[in-house]
């Protein structure tokens, strides 16, 4: 009997975020009528899918033991790339962001691993770099008048009542989770994030693994940018500003440890939903946008404090 109880307690603790999520949804569905509307729900989904896909990629990077702060500006850049190429050739509009994303991910990963530099600082630098490039392309202006793209169905249509972009998030999440938990590649990333010295000695090419994680992150950003550009008629060079913190917050409150090695896409999705709902509720209650950052900042700090593994790693 006692064993069963202990199992229950540990399951509860593991899935605490999911429980909080269910609680929040239940409570606010009852107390706030505007929360329950389809309109609000669809709106929520729009945010969730874009940030969700980016967060899935970020999860890979975090599990490998790094952080990617460039995702926000890379998002802005790839969004522009997609729009710009579409005006010429629809196919390129989809392919080019993906191709460029691979190069960007490789760039980030190469510098971090080859020169053994802190990923936060490197991606801080690439944040500026790609933000500058994005703004250079449009010369600071917002490109408008982009008529419906052929893949606009992703952003606008529904399949069996559910918006197409939600399916995309779903597919991405499932594919990533399978890679993470059911493939050798995913296992290697976990080893690298848990103990990179031991991983190296066990014959894993840790530099390459981390670089792959960065590439996955950038490619995820590309997919998110495609979802985004599929439903927008304007494109801003700073569209993704701040997304990096949304993604990190989502990953961190979802329960993936910043120390690396542990985590799952499922947890991140819960984190994304949690974050989106909190922000949604704040908006519905007419709480200012500024509070979003305040909340995100507190969530990041609280999550780090609670994450014992990060603390174990710090010396004197």
């Amino acid at each position: 009997m006692e064993e069963k109880e202990n199992k229950l307690v540990s399951v509860l603790r593991d899935q605490s975020q999911l429980i909080i999520l269910i609680l929040l949804v239940t409570v606010f569905s009852i107390t706030t009528p505007s929360f329950r509307t389809t309109g609000n729900f669809l709106n929520l989904l729009k945010q969730v899918t874009v940030i969700g896909v980016i967060s899935c990629g970020m999860t890979m990077v975090v599990i490998s033991g790094c952080l990617d702060l460039s995702v926000g500006s890379v998002f802005s850049l790839l969004n522009l790339v997609s729009i710009t190429f579409q005006l010429r050739n629809n196919f390129l509009g989809v392919i080019m962001p993906l191709v460029i994303a691979v190069f960007i991910g490789f760039f980030n990963g190469f510098i971090v691993t080859k020169f053994k530099v802190n990923s936060i600082i490197v991606t801080l630098g690439s944040l500026s770099l790609f933000s500058g490039i994005a703004q250079l392309i449009t010369n600071g202006a917002i490109i408008s008048g982009v008529t419906g793209t052929w893949y606009g169905f992703i952003g606008r249509d529904k399949l069996f009542g559910i918006p197409v972009h939600v399916y995309i998030l779903f597919i991405v999440a499932i594919v990533y989770q399978i890679i993470l938990s059911k493939t050798t590649f995913g296992r290697k990333i976990k080893y690298v994030g848990t103990n990179d010295t031991a991983a190296e000695i066990a014959g894993i090419r840790t530099n390459w693994m981390r670089t792959m994680a960065f590439i996955i992150s950038s490619v995820s950003v590309a997919i998110a940018a495609l979802i985004y550009s599929s439903r927008m008629t304007t494109a801003s060079p700073v569209a993704g500003a701040g997304y990096e913190f949304d993604a990190i917050t989502a990953v961190v409150i979802g329960g993936t440890s910043l120390a690396g090695g542990k985590g799952s896409i499922f947890k991140t999705i819960i984190g994304v939903l949690l974050l989106a709902i909190i922000i949604n509720i704040l908006t519905l209650y007419n709480v200012m946008y500024s509070f979003q950052n305040i909340v995100k900042g507190i969530l990041i700090i609280v999550a780090i404090i609670v994450d014992i593994r990060v603390r174990r790693r710090v010396e004197v």
Binding site: V117, L127, G132, F245, F291, N293, I294, V316
Partner: protein, 314 residues
């Protein structure tokens, strides 16, 4: 023998040399460069973020980092605008103490909870930027007291206040770092925190001090920045972190910690300031400037890392 000495000296002063070279290049390419106005302009521009570089240098020497400096500067600016109805003096104090308070929070969470400063200050950066947006109601706010601009627009012998304040701070903190017990402890802790604690140095207190100073300097910078035009907005400080970290590294202070000087940090700021000025004179678009800033940070931190790695296999 003498040749060796000259070579060593040149190696030590390589940043100053680079500054000299760029300066000469610019002087030839532009009539405007060597004018008094332009030189003062360069110093005026670097003064604000330059103050913050002082604090960041201390932190990096002691082995920590603070990513929230940009937000703190905006926070100080916003507070100084908001508190103006209570008097200029109050406004100034409000801005500076706000910054110091954030520094204290950063220091306490990092040392008492034993968390990595890079992660903690990532969180406070986001948090404080939110507070700033709240305070400014997402607009650009203007101060009520027009006399406020006197703090930044006053000139002594044609040198603007911010430059004077910056210079004074540079001198004060270089003296603190090199000549006081506290300063020497900063080096000791950055060199070997375990040994320092072993021999009775109050490691936590010194660390917290460095965070508070950085916050304080951020507040001062913010107040003076607000004093330029008597406005503040949430957009202040967006690129500050990149500038400040690049400046410290360019000056020759290694992320490894344990050595450096405010003078070196100053060289880094000056170099960055001249590069910025060069880009303006050469009419390079501000977007390309942002790209170059990002690349510069990446480049300089790679060089620093290579140096650190080389030492490992000696």
């Amino acid at each position: 023998m003498k040749f060796e000495k000259i070579k060593n000296f040149l190696n030590e002063q390589k940043i100053l040399l680079i500054i000299l070279v760029i300066g000469i290049f610019l002087a030839f390419n532009s009539d405007y460069f060597l004018t008094f106005t332009n030189i003062v302009n360069i110093f005026q521009t670097i003064s604000f973020e330059g103050m913050i570089v002082i604090g960041m240098a201390l932190l990096i020497i002691i082995g920590e980092i603070d990513l929230s400096v940009g937000s703190v500067m905006a926070f100080g600016a916003a507070l100084s605008i908001i508190f103006q109805p209570y008097g200029i003096f109050t406004a100034i104090i409000a801005g500076i103490s706000g910054g110091a308070l954030v520094g204290l929070i950063n220091g306490l969470i990092t040392t008492k909870l034993k968390l990595p400063s890079i992660a903690v200050t990532l969180g406070t950066m986001v948090f404080i930027s939110g507070i700033v947006y709240l305070l400014t109601r997402e607009h650009t706010i203007k101060g009520t007291n027009e006399n406020f601009v006197s703090i930044s627009q006053t000139e002594i012998y044609h040198i603007p206040m911010p430059v004077i304040v910056f210079t004074v701070l540079l001198i004060i903190f270089e003296i603190i770092l090199q000549r006081t017990i506290l300063g020497r402890h900063i080096f000791a802790i950055g060199g070997n925190a375990t040994a320092s604690r072993f021999f009775g140095i109050k490691v936590d207190a010194v660390r917290i001090f460095c965070f508070v100073i950085t916050g304080f300097l951020g507040g001062v910078a913010g107040v003076m920045l607000a004093g330029k035009l008597n406005v503040a907005s949430g957009r202040i400080g967006n690129s500050t972190v990149v500038f400040v970290i690049t400046a410290v590294l360019l000056g020759g202070i290694s992320m490894e910690g344990g050595e450096g000087s405010i003078f070196k940090a100053f060289q880094g700021i000056l170099l960055l300031g001249i590069i910025n000025n060069a880009m303006v004179i050469l009419k390079i678009s501000s977007f390309i400037q942002e790209m170059i800033r990002g690349l510069l940070l990446i480049l300089i931190i790679v060089i620093d890392s290579i140096n650190i790695q080389k030492k490992k296999y000696l």
